[in-house]
């Protein structure tokens, strides 16, 4: 196990605690940048979608993981991001302006919506956001001039620096664009977490009472977290619109919100890594299952597709298995692997056996 001897406060404030870590992430980014040259367009498209989910997941993670406020209606904010981005573009705005503007717009709407529903917490907040997303669904139909009504709106191709960025026409460029967004959002998120603002989020999550006693304005903090979360989710929504290329009210149904919650919990609440792990599971697992199904049918002759819906059932069963094996999400699993690797060969096999644990009421806040 490596031990750090810290010599200045900056070492704690820095993003990476040492050069090894920095190098590790450097290699990862380099690999991700080179990815389009290594894989087929089909897989690249899937990876791109995973990147979009990563951003959306980070959006929800800020709220659910770091501020302890659950939203069951985050797809609504993806919708707001998507529709506003497309509307800004249809007004002749350049994509590079429309994209951040859509995020800001969604963030502001989120913060405004947050104000009245801030007094809620737990499932009460969850159901309120769910209601909101149902209402947004209907607004998306009524607000036809902006959203195209039931028919929806098509995303125009993005023209930038003399080249056209199109999910199918130029998948590599689209991928890189998403990658840049992911990196930027991740950096901002990491910055947030190492600052006073990020800590006030954690404080509100763990104990509102002491947060208040320490001078944290709980209402304002929650509104800020909600706004930031919505802004990031809105950004993801805008990218998603360009990925899917046509969006209508049905592109953002409740099931998408639920999938997002599933994603952050499976990934591991309360860590940026979790948003990524979750996105990978939610984004790639169904495709993996489908490919495995085809493979089974093609090579072994087992035709599980004779049971309609089995793909989803298998997906659900795997989720069940993950939750049972690792209730705190894949991030916990990742940390264990890491610890065992570092302790090798001293690690005990049963070192991470779960000890009995008990819950207490969360109705006292």
């Amino acid at each position: 196990m490596r031990v750090h001897f810290k010599k200045s406060y900056d070492e704690d404030i820095r993003l990476f605690e040492d050069w090894r870590r920095a190098a590790k992430y450097g290699v990862l980014i380099a690999l991700m940048t080179a990815l389009p040259f290594l894989i087929s367009d089909y897989i690249l498209g899937e990876v791109t979608l995973v990147l979009v989910w990563c951003i959306a997941g980070m959006g929800l993670m800020i709220l659910a993981g770091h501020t302890g406020q659950v939203s069951l209606g985050h797809a609504a904010f993806m919708a707001i991001g998507a529709f506003s981005n497309l509307w800004f573009m249809s007004q002749g705005m350049h994509f590079l302006i429309a994209l951040p503007l859509a995020a800001i717009f969604t963030g502001v709407i989120g913060a405004v919506i947050a104000l009245p529903i801030l007094r809620l917490s737990g499932i009460y907040l969850a159901i309120a956001t769910l209601a909101l997303s149902i209402i947004v669904e209907d607004i998306a139909i009524v607000a036809e001039p902006y959203t195209g009504g039931v028919a929806g709106v098509f995303a125009p191709p993005i023209e930038m620096f003399g080249l056209t960025i199109d999910r199918y026409g130029s998948p590599k460029a689209f991928y890189w664009m998403c990658l840049i967004c992911v990196v930027v959002v991740t950096l901002g998120y990491a910055n947030l977490l190492r600052s006073a603002t990020g800590r006030s989020f954690l404080a509100v999550r763990d104990s509102e009472v002491s947060a208040r006693a320490l001078g944290v304005n709980v209402t304002r903090t929650k509104a800020l977290a909600f706004g930031l979360s919505c802004a990031v989710t809105g950004l993801a929504g805008a990218l998603y619109a360009h990925f899917i290329q046509i969006v209508n009210y049905e592109s953002f149904l409740i099931l998408i919100s639920i999938t997002l919650v599933l994603q952050v919990v499976i990934g591991g609440l309360g860590s940026i890594h979790g948003a990524f792990f979750g996105a990978i599971v939610v984004g790639l697992l169904p495709q993996g299952i489908a490919i495995l199904r085809d493979f089974l049918q093609g090579s072994v002759g087992i035709d599980i597709s004779a049971y309609p819906g089995i793909d989803t059932a298998v997906f659900a069963a795997i989720i069940v298995a993950i939750v049972i094996y690792e209730p705190l999400g894949l991030y916990g699993f990742y940390m264990k692997l890491k610890a065992q690797w570092q302790l090798f060969p001293l690690a005990r096999r049963d070192m991470f056996r779960r000890s009995k644990s008990y819950l207490k009421t969360e109705r006292m806040r």
């Binding site: 899937e46 149902i134 899917i244």
Partner: protein, 367 residues
Amino acid sequence: QTRGVTDDEIVIGGFHDLSGGFAAFSVPAVEAANQLFEEVNAAGGIHGRQIRYIVEDHGYQVPRAAQAANKLVNRDEVFAMLLSLGTPHNLAAFRVMDPNNVPSVFPLTAARQMLEGPEELRYVATASYYDAVRAATGFLIESEGIERVCSMYIPSDFGEEIHMATVDEAGDTDGVEYLTETTHRPDESDFTGALARLREEGCELITVALTIRPTITVVATAKQMGWDDARFLVSSAGFHTAVAKVPGGVTEGLYAGAGWQDLEARMDTPEVAEWVAAMQERTGEFPGTGALLGRSAAEALIRALEEAGPDLTLESFTAAMETLNYDDAIAGNRMEMGPGDHAGATEIFISQIQDGGWVLIDSVETE
């Protein structure tokens, strides 16, 4: 070399809702299509090629539909898409299908947008909800002497079409007035308030664009309120054997306008009986709307592939599709296409529930 076509195989794709709210359409449709494909394959396939129908599940989520389309087009390299379900889902998939010249054959959505786009890549099986409801409304206005029409709908692409059809038909007919509408969500389960309002307004004919369960409740509630002279008309989405079978006769008198005929009444037709028996054997159930649509679409595809000959290309397929002209015994309609006409059966059948079964009262040719 045509994509998805090898010497011994033709790969067809489809994305479906096998696990979400529309599984009631998708699952039987896939079952029926597979039933026919298995039959054809067992008989040696089409020009020596076996049909492989790869079905992906999207659970009615657009992103998963886009993923499925990406897989089917870019990985499995399918020749065509058959019966894919969902309006935004299909629209999103078109973006990857069109550049790759993958035709969309009879998607499971009656939205009018399914015919927009490159002509050689778009085929729909029957008239849209719009046409069907409009024709049926017109028929009822005439035959029942109705002057005031209304509608109850879910504000969605499906609901809006039916609503618009009602409004347009009333607007285009002299002496008929479109009065009002009530809007709903798919999760609603009681309609006392909505019906009270429509009754107050004096509606005589109400077009209903709801899912099956609420449709049953609407008709039952109207009866319960003693509102006996109201006529309710559903589209193909509500034209389901289960609706007629509700115990207690609560759905008696309901009208439907759809692009096909109910199966039960035609069990004396040998093809129908044979197919129903085959499906019952396969699924243990009397085939419903989804199965019928699946069967029709698969049959049309088979016929076109057969017609296109051993040298299967997009061009030969397009040509073959455009020559389709036959009586679909199972749907009870006429499948007919031609150059520039990629909508198959365009006749509208108007049925009513009488004595626990759908009875055909009339048919109307659209266009």
